[in-house]
């Protein structure tokens, strides 16, 4: 579980290095989320289960807090449906821990189930992203972390529902600086292929 270096192309001019813990039982999704995060200049630790995540965070055992600062995690992004411990159960454990509750947690899911979204947001999740997660989603998370990641107060959450070809998500908004509407990135999901220039270039 080595912490991966930041990706190339991340300038060092004052760019903060955020450390994200990604939790997903799918090896494919772990690879993709790792890449998305590295491109957004984050350090990534990717683990395959909630129990591994808790081990890493030092919540489940006698791990001393020596070196905890090195492992400081700025964000946890977790899949919802995982065998054993679900993302929701992981969320509850994190929010139930005095040591870890301040770390923002984002849930990812391939299923757009309102009850699920509500349950997670009520338990203190920062955001709920539809899979497959895209670069625009991760960039938004990075912006959130850059702003201090402390707008914990969920004033309201918007939910855009789209037709089957698109995904939706929930936004948590800060009173003073509402995040740019997810509908922009949600609309990106719906961008018709024909508008992409590279498809037309066959010469």
């Amino acid at each position: 579980m080595a912490v991966e270096d930041v990706g190339s192309g991340c300038s060092s001019s004052g760019d903060q290095e955020f450390h994200v813990l990604a939790v997903d039982d799918s090896i494919i999704d772990r690879k993709v989320i790792e890449r998305l995060l590295k491109i957004s200049c984050c350090k990534v630790t990717a683990v395959e289960s909630g129990s591994r995540a808790l081990q890493y965070l030092g919540i489940d055992g006698e791990r001393s807090s020596l070196g905890f600062d090195d492992l400081k995690v700025n964000l946890i992004i977790t899949d919802y449906s995982m065998p054993g411990m679900t993302g929701y159960e992981l969320l509850k454990k994190i929010k139930g821990s005095t040591k870890l509750r301040q770390i923002p947690v984002v849930i990812m899911s391939s299923e757009n189930i309102l009850a699920r979204v509500d349950r997670c947001m009520e338990e203190g999740a920062e955001d709920f992203l539809m899979k497959p997660v895209q670069l625009s989603d991760v960039e938004r998370l990075r912006d959130f972390m850059l702003r201090g990641g402390e707008e914990r107060e969920v004033v309201g959450h918007k939910r855009k529902t789209r037709d089957d070809s698109c995904s939706s998500s929930v936004l948590s908004c800060d009173r003073d600086h509402p995040l740019s509407p997810r509908s922009v990135s949600a609309m990106a999901h719906c961008k018709p292929l024909s508008k992409r220039p590279r498809l037309l270039a066959t010469d």
Binding site: G9, I27, K31, V32, R35, S81, K131, L135, H189, T202
Partner: protein, 136 residues
């Protein structure tokens, strides 16, 4: 060679084998990571073999464990979605629907479709990656 690769690629989209997620993955490639998409696809094919075997094993035990079949297919559908495998994903959904109503014949038929689409896409993507590599 380059034209051939581009043609193959466009065909994959036009014929509905791939969707926008594949484009999203391509956007994550750069000079330092020029083979990212191919790596993800390879990972998908290795991992999905395991899932297919798991389904086959579950289908051998009667009465069928529909819940288990649905769980495995859910994972399969998730990975297919992550690489933009549009047709495979669609067949996975169809299988899940048959599972949910306990339609044995439907499941058997649909599982064949899943495997066929899975194999067809693999061939086409292997061709495409080969051509793309030679074109560089």
């Amino acid at each position: 060679m380059e034209r051939q690769a581009a043609y193959l690629r466009n065909a994959l989209f036009d014929q509905g084998y791939l969707d926008e997620q594949f484009l999203q993955l391509e956007d994550l490639q750069d000079e330092a990571n020029p083979h990212f998409v191919e790596e993800v696809v390879k990972l998908f094919y290795t991992d999905s073999v395991r899932l297919i075997q798991s389904i086959e094993l579950t289908l051998k035990n009667t009465p069928w464990d529909f819940e288990k079949l649905d769980n495995i297919m859910h994972q399969f559908k998730g990975s297919s979605s992550s690489i933009g495998a549009k047709k495979v994903k669609k067949e996975c959904s169809q299988f899940q629907e048959y599972c949910n109503v306990g339609n044995v014949e439907g499941c058997i038929r649909e599982f064949q479709e899943v495997k066929q689409e899975h194999a067809a896409l693999k061939r086409k993507l292997e061709n495409y990656f080969q051509l793309a590599r030679e074109a560089r």
